[in-house]
Symmetry: C2
Subunit: 204 residues, 2 copies
């Protein structure tokens, strides 16, 4: 695809570096911006640059934050004795959106993946250990909320071993099972199997 | 969906103004930018702003251009007696990609659409008339290459009437018919009907 203008060509090349955006979509986006007010483009460009350059990460949990401590860690009403370990900021947002969790988080920044060259030292695992050590630590439970992929399971396994250092701390993982609204016959065998083995007794 | 950072919130809000990008996709894009080098974001933001503010339109055909005249209009090897009228820059790119057209273009900048409040005066129709008038005009054929939607057909009809002013100029429209590789049984009735009425005699 050849473009009549180097400016468009550049914009399309940059846009199509984004995940899930090919050259045709990039061109559609570029032409949309050309048709819209100039302000649309300038505020988009500004918001992206501002986000990238001014973003900070919480000193405690590595969640994204506009301040040194994120709003969750800084909130005295949250339960600071329960730490939910997730791989990604997106997981924090997803769990927060449920409105079901009152504890705090710890964002690893990824999962252990030998293929991609990501080892334990590339993740925020030591800060988690530091967070749990010392007299003033109030952590009583660590919830491992890591996606059950191969890499995720490896990471959870590694963390479980490291957390043996703190025998007084409970370790749990999020419940696996058939999604609410999901149909049994379409569930994969491993999930269905686990959901039977780890069946929950109903109150009666 | 609540975000832990106003900066991310802004970026997501701006990104999701783009066509076909919802809040979830916008968040994915924003987090991708946060993980990538800062340079990725700055060159994206720069390319977009540069495109929007420095773009120019060809004085003759209203194609996008980095200069006063686009590379097609400025090319003496193109056939300047044949003008292909299209609604959009994307159409120019599509036709150029076929490598089958040697003439020049005229970009209307849209189609007549009473519902969206776009009348003939909002399109580059007068410049087309001016282009054809005068002693030095060399236009011998106008090809109407406008999508056969209701608005497109209205626009083509309007143009045909306006072009009666130039009885010596041929007016043609792109061929309609079954797409190459298309199956007869799946073609819509109007296309199939026209493709029979306007059948092409084969050389033998």
């Amino acid at each position: 695809m050849e473009f009549p203008s180097k400016l468009i060509e550049n914009a399309v090349a940059e846009l199509s570096k984004l995940p899930g955006i090919g050259r045709k979509t990039a061109l559609r986006l570029a032409l949309h911006l050309l048709k819209a007010e100039t302000e649309t483009t300038s505020s988009l460009a500004e918001a992206l640059a501002k986000m990238r350059f001014d973003i900070r990460y919480c000193n405690t949990c590595f969640n994204i934050s506009d301040t040194e401590q994120c709003s969750i860690c800084a909130n005295p009403l949250r339960d600071h004795s329960t730490v939910c370990v997730v791989s990604d900021i997106r997981d924090v947002i997803a769990i927060e959106n449920t409105g079901q969790y009152q504890g705090v988080y710890h964002v690893l920044g990824g999962v252990i993946s030998p293929i991609e060259g990501i080892g334990p030292s590339d993740l925020h695992i030591e800060p988690l250990m530091n967070r749990m050590q010392g007299e003033e630590s109030e952590v009583k439970e660590v919830i491992l909320a890591i996606s059950p992929t191969m890499e995720g399971d490896t990471t959870a396994f590694y963390l479980t071993r490291r957390l043996r250092e703190f025998p007084e701390v409970h370790i749990s993982s999020i419940a696996r099972g058939i999604p609410v609204g999901g149909e049994l016959e379409y569930a994969d065998e491993i999930t269905l199997g686990r959901s039977i083995v780890e069946r929950q007794r109903q109150a009666r």
